[in-house]
């Protein structure tokens, strides 16, 4: 009997194929099977978000509504094409690396032999088998439709558990590859940073062909923990990339995230951060480049629930051709969260008449003793600056590239680790070489 047959409430039509595709995985623990079924029921009620929902108003999910992309079957392991994708990323690190292919852990492409003491780093499936308690405790109930679908179907992901007081000298790398066969890849991951630990992770997403990636990452920072998460998205032209971050910060924790969105047919990056401990600092930065008919949507939501928190956001976007970019940034300061200091800036550049960028800052302040500000702009390339560069002999096209790159660099430069920062700047330069400025 299929799932849709046993539900006694109206199922959204677009959810039905996914319900029919659901199969209990016999090898999984019972609690997980129950979680998955509960989430699937939730998804059946919700269906896909529509443009009526504020945080989804800028994305066109019509293609997904019309033609379902069902969860991928287990793959045959790493193929030559996925090896080539990995090589093409030219990742900077020589340290630990975890690679997922089509949503599943690839031991042959990963490098996990040499982990520092106090660090547990492996696939989500291994975590469920070996550390089920941690995963169960820290993974929240998924309220959003795609997160619910993710809970129902996630095939794998990664879990990083950093012990108290541990400092990781090298950045950890997580790579999501996709071979793209009209399927969806659902990955669920978790980073737990123990008290006063320090780490930098680089997550890269790349692929080929037509696919839908639905990625959910949970981040938990204990008291005084410091974590930098750099996300590089270089998905295929035909790919749909939907990613959600759910982070919770303890007292004195410092969390920095950079989303560098450089490719993919439709890319949505959502970061939800709950500042739950006093004096925690949250940095959310991002840069996107879209051209042709690409669309990108960055959604941030920072919720200050306690006093003395700090948020800094810097987002830059560039759109050319017929591309569409959108930034929606919400910062909430709750009634008792006095002395919060929050600043958000969204600056955007339009290259060419048919590109569009929407930017929508939103501050909800309920406390009365706070420092909060935001700024947003959408403009064109500065002709005076362009003339200055050309007056020194730099050809027009090269001068335009220099200006666009100069415009986009500063969010990336917020990354403290020089290896990751320089790597991401190289990827940015490479992306801009193909752009008609």
């Amino acid at each position: 009997m299929t799932m849709s047959a046993v539900l006694d409430f109206p199922v959204k039509p677009e959810a039905r194929p996914y319900l029919d595709a659901f199969d209990k995985i016999a090898s999984e623990p019972e609690w997980l099977t129950r979680e998955r079924q509960r989430a699937l029921t939730r998804f059946a009620e919700l269906g896909f978000p529509t443009r009526k929902s504020e945080s989804w108003r800028y994305l066109d999910l019509q293609p997904l509504q019309q033609k379902p992309l069902l969860p991928a079957e287990p793959n045959a392991g790493a193929q030559d094409s996925t090896r080539a994708q990995l090589a093409a990323l030219q990742l900077p690190g020589s340290g630990p690396r975890l690679v997922l292919v089509d949503g599943r852990f690839s031991p042959e492409l990963s490098r996990l032999g040499d982990l520092p003491n106090g660090v547990w780093f492996s696939s989500t499936q291994n975590a469920i088998a070996e550390r089920g308690g941690l995963f169960r405790e820290l993974t929240d109930d998924a309220a959003h439709p795609f997160a619910a679908l993710n809970t129902a179907f996630f095939s794998d992901g990664f879990v990083l558990d950093i012990g108290a007081g541990v400092t990781l000298a090298q950045p950890l790398e997580i790579v999501h590859l996709a071979s793209g066969h009209d399927a969806s890849y659902h990955t669920r991951s978790l980073i737990h940073a123990g008290e006063r630990s320090r780490a930098t992770v680089l997550e890269a997403y790349a692929g080929a062909g037509h696919y839908w990636r639905n990625d959910v990452v949970t981040v938990r920072l204990d008291t005084g923990a410091e974590l930098t998460r750099a996300v590089l998205v270089e998905e295929a032209v035909q790919a749909l990339h939907l990613a959600e971050l759910d982070a919770k910060l303890g007292a004195d924790a410092r969390f920095s995230e950079l989303a560098l969105l450089l490719g993919g047919g439709t890319v949505r990056h959502e970061a939800r951060v709950t500042v739950a401990g006093e004096r925690a600092q949250c940095r959310l930065d991002g840069a996107f480049v879209v051209d042709r008919a690409e669309e990108v949507n960055i959604v941030t939501n920072v919720d200050h629930r306690v006093p003395h928190g700090e948020t800094r956001e810097l987002f830059k976007g560039v759109a050319a051709d017929r591309a569409h970019g959108a930034f929606q940034g919400k910062i909430i300061v709750r009634e008792h969260a006095q002395k919060v200091d929050a600043h958000q800036l969204s600056r955007n550049l339009i290259l060419g008449g048919r590109a569009v960028i929407d930017t929508k800052p939103e501050l909800e302040i309920y406390a009365d003793d706070v420092k909060c500000s935001h700024g947003a702009s959408v403009g064109e390339l500065d002709e005076t600056a362009l003339f200055y560069l050309r007056s020194r002999g730099i050809p027009d096209a090269e001068a335009r590239h220099m200006l666009v790159e100069g415009f986009l660099r500063d969010p990336v430069e917020e990354i403290a680790d020089p290896r990751v920062r320089d790597y991401l700047l190289r990827r940015l330069t490479r992306r801009l070489e193909g752009l008609e400025a």
């Binding site: 560069l389 007056s391 001068a399």
Partner: protein, 254 residues
């Protein structure tokens, strides 16, 4: 080097600024163009450098035997024309060193010379830095971003020293400089004087000419050159002011 004949130019709003400029600059010469505010000095510099927003309605400019207006702004620069800006532009996110190397390599490519790598470029730059009393930190910052007025002007002259143009046009490079900065700028310009290089100094004040001795001084007024003479003219302007020239155009034309 540069032959300007009956040059007329107007702004996009139709206002005519240059009303028949004639000027001939020979190889190795230093010319000073002086004049009151609004006489067209900066427009002349902008038109020569190829800035958009100015329409040339009449006349011609020949640079080293070629029609200057047939070349784009960046092509002019690669052919050796350099404009030191009155108001240097701040360029966010573009490192000064990176920018200048790109500029120098664009010119070297144009001349069929091999490009300089970062190490070779640094050696070129080190020599010039010393000459202009510029600290390394200025190079590592974004182009002109957060520079003081004096630093910006020094950076212009520094770029000129690195790019070694054939024709350098300095648009009010002396304005807003204290005497020490003025000396440094003058040292940079004087260091570039060479038989195959010409320099046009556009200035409101005689002060700069105390440090850079021109071969010729011209007075630009209401879009025309109304007087040309040797450097003594500058001293005379300082005594009498610009007003007298406008009132006696016949005398000036003699």
């Amino acid at each position: 080097m540069l032959e300007i004949k009956n040059l007329h130019s107007r702004l996009e709003d139709g206002r005519e600024i240059l009303k028949g400029v004639d000027l001939s600059v020979g190889d190795g010469e230093v010319h000073a163009i002086m004049g009151p505010n609004g006489s067209g000095k900066s427009t002349l510099a902008a038109v020569l450098a190829g800035r958009e927003g100015y329409e040339v309605t009449e006349g011609s400019v020949t640079y080293r035997g070629r029609d200057l207006f047939a070349m784009s702004a960046d092509e002019r620069a690669r052919e050796g024309v350099f404009l030191a800006f009155q108001y240097p532009v701040e360029i966010q996110g573009v490192n000064n060193m990176y920018f200048l190397r790109a500029a120098l390599n664009a010119q070297r490519r144009h001349r069929g010379e091999p490009e300089l790598d970062a190490g070779q470029f640094l050696r070129v730059v080190r020599q010039k830095l010393k000459l202009l009393d510029i600290g390394d930190d200025l190079l590592q910052r974004a182009v002109n971003v957060g520079f003081s007025g004096g630093e910006k002007k020094r950076n212009e002259v520094f770029q000129m020293a690195v790019l070694e143009p054939r024709l350098a046009i300095l648009d009010e490079t002396d304005s807003g400089l204290d005497i020490d900065a003025l000396r440094v700028v003058a040292r940079g310009v004087n260091g570039l004087r060479a038989p195959d290089r010409s320099i046009v100094l556009i200035t409101h004040y005689k002060r700069l000419l105390d440090y850079i001795e021109p071969d010729h001084v011209h007075v630009l007024q209401d879009g025309r050159i109304v007087q040309s003479a040797d450097k003594e003219l500058a001293a005379e302007l300082e005594r009498r002011g610009y007003g007298t020239f406008g009132e006696q155009p016949e005398a000036a034309a003699q």
